[in-house]
């Protein structure tokens, strides 16, 4: 049964993998992480009453980044990807599916954190779990389709683990002189900042390599073949 069902399963998964054939999926995630990191940086390093410390400003800046990425990638696909390797329109995901998936994921995360609380008291343990989660998501979503991306998944996990294990004093110079360095309300941002700073270049680099390989290995066929 496996012998026939596995190729069918693999074919059913191919359109999903096609979304990142040009590396745009990774580039967009890398840019979003970089955007988050820059937004945190601005919040931490600007005065308490500056525009960057208003909640609407960070929401608006992230919204602008997401819109720019959405339309930028759409334009790229229409001009470069679809003429080279074909057009695909994905099936719309139902709102219920998204809600149920998000609810299940959140409930599982809460259960894990509640049950392993005694192990997760330290920032290192939380950081390790976060690195593992990111690497698993990347492996499942991207590396399954492209074997060399397992190196990137491993790099995500290892770099995240290194960040988690390093003492917090290593990152203190990044926030030196900041008026909010010891503000407990930005504690989570300060904790996440090094991870985003490490992972965004990794994802951008991996995405750019995929893009370069894609552009090198594909050409648009003559117009009558489409």
């Amino acid at each position: 049964m496996q012998q026939i069902q596995t190729p069918i399963q693999s074919l059913l998964g191919r359109p999903r993998n096609y979304n990142n054939i040009d590396g745009m999926g990774e580039i967009s995630v890398g840019l979003i992480l970089l955007g988050f990191a820059l937004s945190f940086w601005m919040q931490i390093h600007t005065a308490l009453h500056s525009l960057w410390n208003r909640s609407f400003a960070s929401i608006l800046s992230m919204l602008a980044l997401c819109l720019a990425l959405h339309y930028g990638i759409k334009g790229f696909k229409q001009k470069i990807t679809f003429p080279r390797t074909g057009f695909v329109r994905y099936r719309a995901t139902s709102v219920w599916y998204v809600l149920v998936s998000a609810g299940t994921t959140a409930a599982t995360a809460v259960l894990i954190i509640r049950n392993l609380r005694h192990l997760l008291d330290s920032a290192s343990a939380m950081g390790f779990l976060y690195a593992l989660f990111m690497a698993v998501c990347y492996g499942y979503g991207i590396a399954r389709a492209v074997p060399w991306k397992w190196l990137v998944a491993s790099a995500i996990f290892l770099s995240g683990t290194v960040v988690a294990l390093l003492p917090s004093t290593v990152f203190q110079p990044l926030f030196a002189g900041s008026p909010r360095a010891h503000d407990p309300t930005v504690g989570l941002l300060v904790a996440l900042f090094p991870y985003f700073l490490v992972w965004s270049p990794l994802l951008l680099l991996s995405g750019l390599i995929s893009l370069a390989l894609y552009l090198r290995n594909t050409t648009a066929p003559a117009s009558d073949t489409q």
Partner: protein, 98 residues
């Protein structure tokens, strides 16, 4: 006849052919795709792919829409309700048979 053999014999032969199975499986996972995408993913040449698509279209499994992307002709394909139903049924029978 052995029930397993009977289920095998009942498999939809139009879908069971490897080339068409690839086309139907790829279209099952998307809302719409163009000819170029199917050619790229299946590795089947243009003539054979056209012939498979024509057979699937005649059976009412695939809907073909000829359009333009700018000035370039584009053939968009999607699986019909019947096509989806038959592919689901085919997978169910295949699981049962093997």
């Amino acid at each position: 006849m052995n029930p397993q053999m009977q289920t095998l014999a009942e498999l939809d032969r139009l879908i069971h052919e490897p080339g068409r199975l690839m086309i139907v499986a790829l279209l099952y996972a998307v809302d719409q795709a163009d000819f170029l995408y199917l050619q790229h993913e299946t590795g089947i040449n243009k003539g054979t792919l056209s012939s498979h698509i024509a057979k699937l279209e005649d059976a009412g499994y695939v809907e073909v829409l000829k359009t333009y992307r700018g000035k370039i002709p584009q053939t968009l394909l999607s699986l019909t309700k019947l096509g989806r139903q038959c592919f689901k049924e085919y997978r169910k029978k295949l699981r049962k048979a093997l």
